[in-house]
């Protein structure tokens, strides 16, 4: 996996802060630090899972990459094999070109399709905008896409409310595929579906990825899904990445106490091997005033004095020859436990 890897997307110190405005004059009294200094490399052809509790900034990170939410600072460098471009500094016209390569699949199948248009009606404009002028050609492309997501060609003339949740989610995937992107951000793409349909959609995503040589950034809070679909996993906590590793390494040799707690929450269907559950107390702290030092220290069972004052860096380690990053002062001690 590690030989001849090419990065497709590089995030450098990316921050997305939302101002909090109060009072008659809308003075800014603080910031919600939804994404707070994330640096990350995504390799071409991989599936990078982004996991974490709700409210830790996963979705904001995904939307910031596509510029649906404007990042406050930092760089997002997209490499389309020939040039490298910083997405935060593109004009609208240049962004349009990049949009052809970056797409997103949304969480909520209810609101992700326009109720006033048929499937053909809502999908055709994006094709038109990207240069496919003849209507018959657009119908053919959309029909092919529907077949690619295991639906029938004729269904393009139906309205969204005539479909089930799983079908709608597959239409959402078809829409993202329609202009042949390189990278798709799947924002909780299967969370709203029930388990049997989840499996179906996940398999579809995996097949399409191999067929079309795609890269996924797969945002989810469900760790059992992660194991199935992803190559690497980034664990987020309070807008920061706390651990990043190949999926087997993350599960086998965890180097951050937060990841340990998350992993212990996966139900295991084996009575003899029942794991000890690490219970996290309290909620995620407010991203308005994150705790000093390590953001995880108020909830960490192994918290020491240094954790309360010094912010841990995301340090590089190696596990089985693969890179493994962890933002814990006692990352190596975690392995022995």
């Amino acid at each position: 996996m590690s030989e001849s890897i090419e990065t497709i997307l590089t995030l450098k110190d990316m921050e997305t802060h939302f101002p909090i405005k109060k009072g008659v004059f809308k003075r800014t009294t603080g910031y919600v630090k939804a994404v707070d200094g994330v640096s990350l490399e995504v390799y071409r052809g991989e599936t990078l899972a982004l996991v974490g509790e709700s409210g830790c900034g996963k979705t904001t990170l995904g939307k910031s990459i596509l510029q649906l939410v404007k990042p406050t600072s930092g760089k997002i460098i997209y490499n389309d094999k020939t040039t490298e471009r910083d997405l935060c500094r593109l004009s609208q016209k240049e962004m349009m070109e990049v949009n052809q390569k970056l797409q997103i699949v949304f969480q909520d199948p209810q609101s992700s399709l326009n109720p006033a248009f048929t499937i053909f009606g809502s999908l055709q404009d994006s094709l038109k905008a990207h240069g496919i002028k003849s209507k018959s050609e657009r119908r053919k492309i959309i029909g092919d896409l529907l077949e690619a997501v295991n639906m029938r060609r004729e269904q393009m003339d139906l309205y969204p409310h005539e479909f089930s949740g799983g079908q709608r989610q597959r239409i959402g995937i078809a829409r993202a595929l329609s202009i042949e992107p390189d990278l798709i951000v799947c924002d909780e793409a299967v969370s709203a579906l029930d388990v049997s349909i989840q499996a179906q959609v996940l398999k579809l995503l995996k097949d399409i990825k191999e067929e079309r040589n795609l890269t996924y950034i797969f945002i989810t809070h469900d760790l059992s899904v992660v194991e199935y679909i992803s190559d690497r996993v980034a664990v987020m906590y309070l807008g920061k990445i706390v651990e990043l590793a190949e999926v087997e390494d993350l599960y086998a040799s965890t180097m951050h106490p937060y990841t340990k707690a998350l992993l212990s929450a996966i139900p295991v269907a084996d009575l003899d091997r029942r794991k000890k559950r690490i219970l996290l107390e309290g909620d995620v702290p407010s991203p308005v005033n994150p705790p000093s030092g390590c953001p995880f220290h108020p909830r960490c069972s192994q918290c020491q004095d240094i954790c309360k004052t010094v912010v841990p860096e995301l340090k590089r380690f190696e596990t089985n020859g693969n890179e493994h990053y962890s933002a814990c002062h006692f990352a190596e001690e975690q392995l022995s436990q």
Partner: protein, 309 residues
């Protein structure tokens, strides 16, 4: 066997009927717009369309159906009761009331519908874009509309009439200038809630331009309340025209309008003893407004793809 048949609900029976017709090949894929078919299957809407079109056609072809000139005075025959000679009688100056109502429709409908449509075009055009885009332009337009709406409308209208002068075209322009605020704010509010929907973000992720997203993709979802609002404001503007005419600042009193006709009821003597002077006019106004409202409701339902027709 008998039990299961008993348990069938009305809906199930309806579906069974449809199934049978489908099997025998009676139901084909219908051609034409689905929204239009839905509108036509709505009885109230059809009734509204009939009422409105009868009144509208009568007004347009007024010279063909009226024997009298609505402006011609005939003082010898004043205050005649309804008869074969004068279908609804004559007024205090001997003018034929039927002719006045039919000709009056031309002006009243033009003012009402024209002002409502013009203010809807202005309000929706501004509201849809600024509501979706937000930012400085949105703030400026919002304050501007508040300014217009906070001012008592009738005083503003009087002021503008005095400045611009009386006349039909000026009246429509003035009603548009003072009346766009309501529909603008409603459209904007609709857009504010729609823009958080994920399909809008998906369109943005495709890099579509703002105009296309706002007007083509989001606006159809907001069209229901807008249409209802247009019908309601048509009624309102017709009444407004009546009120202004009464004050002598609307359409000049010698021209027949529904407002001018009904305003005779201000005089207690006519109100008490000469009902035919004002009752027919009032009925026509009510019928027309009611018909427009029926059409508006029908349009709202047929524009909603989630309702079966």
């Amino acid at each position: 066997m008998k039990d299961t048949e008993k348990k069938k609900t009305r809906l199930e029976k309806k579906f069974d009927k449809i199934l049978i017709r489908e099997d025998t090949g009676l139901i084909k894929n219908k051609k034409g717009s689905r929204a239009f078919r839905k509108l036509m299957s709505n009885r109230l809407a059809v009734a509204g369309i009939i009422i409105v079109s009868v009144i509208l056609l009568a007004s347009i072809f007024a010279p063909l159906i009226c024997r009298y000139d609505p402006l011609k005075l005939d003082l010898r025959n004043k205050l005649q009761k309804p008869s074969m000679e004068h279908l609804i009688g004559t007024d205090q100056l001997g003018r034929d009331i039927f002719a006045r109502i039919v000709y009056g429709g031309r002006v009243s409908i033009l003012v009402g519908l024209g002002s409502a449509l013009a203010s809807a075009v202005v309000g929706v055009a501004i509201g849809a874009y600024t509501g979706y885009k937000g930012g400085l332009l949105d703030k400026i337009m919002l304050r501007l509309s508040e300014l217009v709406m906070a001012f008592p409308q009738i005083i503003l209208v009087l002021l503008l009439v005095t400045i611009m002068g009386q006349g039909l075209r000026n009246l429509i322009i003035i009603f548009t200038l003072t009346g766009w605020g309501g529909i603008y704010r409603m459209t904007r509010a609709q857009m504010l809630s729609l823009r958080e929907e994920e399909y809008v973000q998906a369109l943005r992720a495709f890099g579509l331009n703002n105009f296309s997203i706002a007007y083509k993709h989001m606006l159809p979802n907001a069209v229901g309340p807008i249409v209802v609002n247009i019908t309601l404001s048509t009624a309102m503007f017709i009444l407004y025209e009546a009120a202004l005419s009464f004050l002598g600042l609307g359409v000049p009193l010698n021209i027949a309008t529904w407002g001018n006709i009904v305003n005779i009821a201000q005089d207690l003597r006519y109100l008490q003893f000469f009902w035919w002077l004002w009752v027919p006019g009032a009925i026509v106004i009510s019928l027309f407004v009611l018909g427009i409202n029926f059409i508006g409701d029908g349009l709202r339902d047929s524009a909603d793809p989630m309702q079966q027709g």
